[in-house]
């Protein structure tokens, strides 16, 4: 079974960055890391290939300057190979353009299953997986909180507003997984060393069969018209608990007349 996992390399969330007022995009000048949300998809893919007894995990990522630091983490976890798509024309690409690029790179792999996180930790538009499925003509199940594969059929528990649905889906298909679907492994030292020599295919826009009019600023169909500071909530009183903080909370709730 061949599983492709969509992987995003993002600025370290501990150093959240800012919007560039000139280009109106996220500043991406710090080192990129593997998005935590994607570690779950990588782990899920590795477990499914293990369970199937055969196959491999391939990663697909779109990033500036052939960035692979985050991909190496996922390769160190056990993925076999990766594709990274980079092109100056991709700057300013929105979710739909990103989906077009990833879908074209995924199609080259002819996977049985495509996995993605439900949303990235930095952009969180949450539409890319479903857009990829539509571009590839695949069935899809989003918001998976568990996934198993049996005889060409994915069995998925899908989160809903009220609880969850049991869904069956014929492969090939795309499944987007929620954080917590599995516990991602830490890369071993051996894995980290092995990752350094695993193949990473570097493609540009032409390499995935797209042209600049379909992506980047040109392809967006939307325009950021303003960026302003939001009205801030004022911090209130902060006190140190000296054994009687509960009384302060009760008094506070009494004042609000909610008890």
């Amino acid at each position: 079974m061949k599983v492709v996992v969509c992987v995003k390399q993002i600025p370290d969330p501990a150093d959240p960055g800012a919007l560039d007022p000139e280009t109106k995009t996220l500043k991406r000048d710090s080192k990129l890391i593997l998005d935590d949300s994607d570690a779950y998809g990588v782990e899920m893919a590795l477990q499914l290939v293990d369970a199937a007894g055969e196959g491999e995990v391939h990663l697909v990522s779109m990033a500036p300057n052939n960035e692979v630091a985050g991909l190496r983490t996922a390769l160190a976890m056990g993925a076999a190979s990766a594709t990274v798509v980079s092109d100056p024309a991709l700057q300013g690409s929105d979710a739909l353009a990103t989906a077009k690029v990833l879908a074209a790179a995924i199609a080259k792999q002819e996977p049985d299953l495509v996995l993605a996180a439900t949303e990235s930790s930095d952009g969180y538009t949450g539409t890319v997986p479903e857009q990829i499925a539509e571009l590839l003509g695949l069935a899809s199940v989003t918001f998976a909180k568990s996934v198993t594969v049996e005889s060409g059929l994915a069995k998925v528990k899908r989160q809903t507003e009220a609880g969850f649905d049991e869904v069956e889906c014929a492969l090939p298909a795309l499944v987007s997984v929620t954080a917590g679907v599995v516990e991602p492994r830490y890369p071993s030292f051996k894995g980290i060393m092995a990752a350094k020599s695993k193949p990473v295919d570097e493609l540009d826009l032409a390499g995935v069969g797209l042209d600049a009019s379909q992506v980047g600023w040109a392809g967006a169909g939307q325009e950021i018209v303003s960026i302003t500071a939001a009205a801030e909530r004022e911090a209130g009183e902060v006190i140190e608990d000296e054994g009687d903080a509960h009384e302060r909370i009760v008094a506070f709730l009494d004042d609000l007349k909610v008890l």
Binding site: E161, G163, A229, V238
Partner: protein, 322 residues
């Protein structure tokens, strides 16, 4: 000047229309002359309530027999427009599982970008502008649909206030789902509802949430106890949902529920951006956390720097003895 026509994606909870749909209808009425609903399922069952909230027409697919809403509804809408149905100026969909699925599929079918995480909308000429809070709500970004065709907007719950206007029952029209081919391979076999006692998380006047600072899953019982005592609903940060302590239906945040209760009590929650986005709209916030530097204190009206294992048991005892 308003727009001519807006389509709102209709979602339901059993016999009634979902709150998010009614919220979007309230805003859509301000923005456009004609407001219509498109949805999966039987439109006749909801035509009265949707009409009461200002929808003139409901386009409904009928029973999907377990097919996924995303691909079914998006394919039906695209086919109807290709077949000559007058496209709306904008589609509004809720930031829900099915809303996001429909938006993603529709986006590709119409080759139209989605403007996401919208909390407010305004008309600019003959198009719509969506406002999205970023960086945990510290910065507002306004994005305009400049494609010249129907914009697609994903709207966050609780952005608008639902209000019935006493409109007549909506007309119901068929929205035929075409043959889905290879995209139609998924089937829902069973639906499970995770019931909880007491008020619903996104409707409760008081919400008590727990986070990683509780230390272990057993300690979540304190959150449950406190919620019961104050007549509120228990909630959770993403960290402890991911860790499997409580079900996803408890999650407050960017993913999960957006809550705006009168009082929000955060217990052992540091206040990650992902969490703040889901609860910053609360009228009053009380936070208990060991770390004085935790970001949650920047939004709290009353902040207690202390150990939840010391403060919460005393608080629970004090409330019990009243």
């Amino acid at each position: 000047m308003g727009l001519d026509k807006i389509w709102v994606f209709g979602e339901t909870n059993g016999d009634s229309v979902a709150t998010i749909t009614l919220e979007m209808l309230a805003k859509a009425r301000e923005l456009a002359d004609t407001v219509e609903v498109f949805m999966a399922g039987d439109g006749d069952d909801y035509a009265e309530e949707l009409g009461d909230h200002g929808a003139q027409t409901v386009y409904a697919t009928g029973d999907l027999n377990g097919a996924m809403q995303g691909v079914s509804v998006a394919s039906a809408v695209a086919a109807a427009i290709a077949g000559g149905l007058d496209a709306p100026d904008a589609f509004l969909l809720g930031t829900t599982q099915d809303g996001r699925d429909v938006a993603g599929r529709l986006s590709v079918k119409l080759n139209q970008s989605v403007i996401t995480n919208v909390v407010d909308l305004e008309v600019d000429g003959d198009t719509l502008v969506g406002l999205e809070p970023v960086f945990g709500g510290t910065t507002d970004v306004k994005t305009k649909n400049t494609s010249g065709t129907s914009g697609i907007f994903l709207v966050r719950p609780k952005s608008f206030v639902a209000e019935a206007v006493g409109g007549a029952e909506a007309d119901v029209e068929d929205l035929d789902v075409p043959d889905l081919g290879t995209t139609g391979g998924a089937r829902i076999l069973n639906s499970h509802v995770e019931e909880s006692d007491g008020p619903k998380l996104d409707e409760a006047a008081i919400v008590v949430s727990g986070g990683r600072g509780l230390g272990d899953s057993e300690s979540y019982a304190m959150v449950d106890d406190l919620a019961k005592l104050v007549g509120g609903a228990p909630g959770a940060s993403r960290a402890i949902v991911d860790a499997g302590w409580v079900p996803y239906s408890y999650q407050v945040g960017q993913t999960g529920k957006v809550v705006k209760p009168a009082v929000y009590i955060a217990c052992g929650i540091s206040g990650a951006t992902q969490h703040l986005v889901g609860m910053k709209g609360s009228k009053t916030i009380i936070a208990i956390n060991k770390d004085a530097e935790a970001p949650i204190f920047a939004v709290a009206d009353l902040g207690i720097v202390g150990d939840v294992h010391k403060v919460m048991p005393k608080l629970i005892e004090a409330l019990k003895s009243r």
